[in-house]
């Protein structure tokens, strides 16, 4: 009986491997093509050969960093996104910890309301927000982006953190309470360090979503506060499209996210499903 089951999969394993390889190639080919094109000169990219074999050049990266405004876009993104990540983690912890530790009907209702915010499409949010931020003269400043990104990431961060805080054994906190620590200290000295990997993962995922944003940035950023994603589209000019430069810039936009995902990979599934699939 068991012999039969051990033999059948072997032939299948080869097929699975080939299929797996094929699937992997399909999914990485465009990305590889982007990275490769970023290292090509215009002539290499636009000549009719379809090739990964060429003499790589750093011209496009020089163009991106020294001859365009793209660098300032990266700086704007870095500033707005990192401030918002710090803010998100702080504000979300403030909500997530009581939610995890002192659950109640009110808190559950609050949690449902917060997750329902995730359903609203950003284009619906941004019209009134744009008008309001314009009235208080915040459009064109990175603070409008900080606010919007924090708002955008809060539901995710709250739900994730709630899950991580819940996993801290209740007994440890109770022991600390008996030792006379107050709620704030228990959270900062015990719960936070114990759930540090989860908190870091939450921060990384918040970073990814804010960094990848284009819609909010496109509408809210002014001439001096273009983000990296908005800057990317500005290589398209009426005169022509510098494809090789765009591919280099695209690679630059993508690398930090890949690195962040690599560090958070253990929590990726959890993060992408707001903690509902572990």
């Amino acid at each position: 009986m068991s012999q039969k089951f051990h033999r059948k999969p072997r032939a299948l394993d080869h097929l699975r491997f080939v299929l797996g390889l094929l699937v992997t190639l399909i999914f990485i080919f465009p990305v590889a093509w982007m990275i490769a094109t970023g290292f090509k000169t215009g002539n290499q990219a636009f000549s009719n050969s379809t090739s990964f074999f060429f003499k790589p050049s750093l011209d496009n990266y020089r163009e991106v960093f020294f001859k365009s405004d793209f660098k300032s876009g990266i700086m704007t993104s870095l500033q707005a996104v990192s401030i918002s990540v710090v803010l998100t983690v702080c504000l979300a912890s403030g909500i997530a910890y009581p939610m995890a530790r002192f659950p109640s009907k009110g808190m559950n209702r609050l949690a449902s309301w917060i997750i329902s915010l995730r359903i609203v499409p950003p284009i619906v949010t941004i019209i009134p927000l744009f008008l309001l931020l314009r009235t208080v003269k915040l459009t064109g400043s990175i603070w409008s982006l900080v606010l919007v990104y924090t708002f955008m990431n809060m539901p995710l961060a709250i739900w994730l953190l709630r899950g991580f805080f819940k996993e801290v054994p209740r007994e440890i906190e109770e022991a600390a309470e008996i030792d006379g620590l107050d709620g704030k200290r228990i959270f900062l000295k015990i719960v936070l360090p114990l759930s540090a990997p989860g908190v870091v993962a939450t921060a990384l995922l918040s970073f990814v979503f804010a960094w990848n944003d284009f819609l909010f940035a496109n509408i809210l950023s002014g001439a001096t506060t273009r983000t990296a994603t908005v800057g990317l589209t500005e290589f398209v000019t009426p005169v022509g499209t510098a494809w090789t430069t765009i591919m280099a810039a695209g690679t630059i936009v993508v690398i930090p996210v890949w690195v962040a995902a690599l560090f958070a990979q253990k929590y990726l599934v959890r993060g992408l499903t707001m903690g509902s699939v572990k």
């Binding site: 394993d13 699975r16 491997f17 797996g20 390889l21 699937v23 399909i26 999914f27 990485i28 465009p30 990305v31 093509w33 094109t37 990219a45 636009f46 379809t50 504000l91 403030g94 909500i95 009581p98 530790r101 002192f102 659950p103 109640s104 009907k105 808190m107 995730r118 359903i119 609203v120 499409p121 950003p122 284009i123 619906v124 019209i127 009134p128 008008l131 309001l132 606010l147 924090t150 708002f151 809060m154 709250i158 709620g183 990848n212 284009f214 819609l215 994603t229 589209t233 494809w243 695209g250 936009v253 996210v257 995902a261 990979q265 990726l268 599934v269 499903t273 509902s276 699939v277 572990k278």
Partner: protein, 304 residues
């Protein structure tokens, strides 16, 4: 207020003095969420009953239900609704099926298993605007590599993103390429959480591969499957970056989804009144469609 409401519940073991400040920390976060959701929503609702074009020197005034009437009686709305629903249904269905299939391939370990799995995730981790620009480059009529392929296999050159018959399918293909990995990751995690013994036991009882999938995988995976599909559904409605980078709603309006159309009337035509009314109709659409799944999800959640 909240602290008072809940003081009878929660843990009675906690010392009294922690009690009062227990829910204080939620205030800043909740204020931010309220400030950026409820307040703007009410504002948008008011604006949706106004005639307000930013370039109009006469300013704004209430015009009752005119905006809604204009939208619902025009053909544009119904067209974008059709395009949006078609886009959402096609992408979510195809992505789910593909993701399930790919998850089955990767369910058991094989050489380079982890590396391949990580590489498959790259599209999902690439900013949608970058994917959009990349798609525009690859499908470019002059320099695009796709045209080189089609030429080699004898299909000739095409201007895919401006073609009446090709633009919409291309957008869908790009979305599938980017987001199938998302569902794949969730489905694979779900499959791997199915206890090995259950599968072995079923096999020993002589269950076929199909029976194992139908009777063991699917029931146990129902919840994560639903979560993944629901999230994908909600996000599929949002498609904007991709369209901004590639077709801008064209050719004519064949790729004009609701997200794009609202952006167009709000930030290009600057007709804020119409855009606001349109937003509410869009929100209602999203709520109706995702509501079906969300209800199912909360039912499953109770059963778990």
């Amino acid at each position: 207020m909240r602290a008072k409401d809940n003081s009878s519940e929660g843990s009675s073991r906690a010392p009294k003095r922690v009690h009062s400040g227990r829910y204080l920390a939620i205030i800043p976060g909740v204020l931010l969420l309220l400030g950026l959701s409820v307040f703007p929503s009410v504002y948008a609702l008011i604006v949706s009953f106004q005639k307000w074009i930013l370039t109009d020197p006469n300013g704004r005034h209430f015009n009752g239900l005119d905006n809604y009437k204009d939208i619902l009686l025009g053909s544009e709305f119904w067209h974008t609704l059709k395009i949006t629903l078609l886009f959402v249904i096609l992408t979510v269905v195809i992505e789910s099926l593909l993701a399930y299939g790919i998850a089955l391939i990767f369910f058991r370990p094989m050489p380079f298993h982890r590396v391949m799995r990580a590489l498959i995730l790259l599209p999902m981790l690439t900013a949608p605007i970058v994917v959009g620009m990349l798609a525009r480059f690859m499908f470019d009529s002059q320099f695009g590599i796709i045209n080189r392929f089609t030429e080699i296999i004898g299909l000739g050159r095409h201007d895919f993103l401006s073609g009446l018959n090709t633009a919409f399918p291309v957008i869908i293909i790009v979305d599938i390429w980017q987001w199938t990995p998302f569902l794949f990751l969730i489905f694979l995690a779900a499959m791997q959480s199915v206890p090995e013994e259950l599968i072995e036991a079923a096999k020993l009882d002589g269950a076929s591969k199909f029976e194992v999938i139908k009777n063991i995988f699917l029931p146990l995976m129902k919840y994560p499957l639903l979560v993944g599909i629901t999230l994908r559904l909600i996000d599929s409605f949002r498609v904007y970056d991709l369209i901004y980078a590639t077709t801008r709603g064209g050719p004519i309006n064949l790729t004009s989804t609701m997200s794009w159309s609202i952006y167009d009337s709000g930030f290009k035509v600057l007709n804020i009144g119409i855009a606001s009314a349109y937003s509410f109709l869009f929100l209602i659409t999203v709520l109706i469609v995702s509501g079906i799944f969300l209800r199912q999800l909360s039912k499953e959640n109770e059963e778990r």
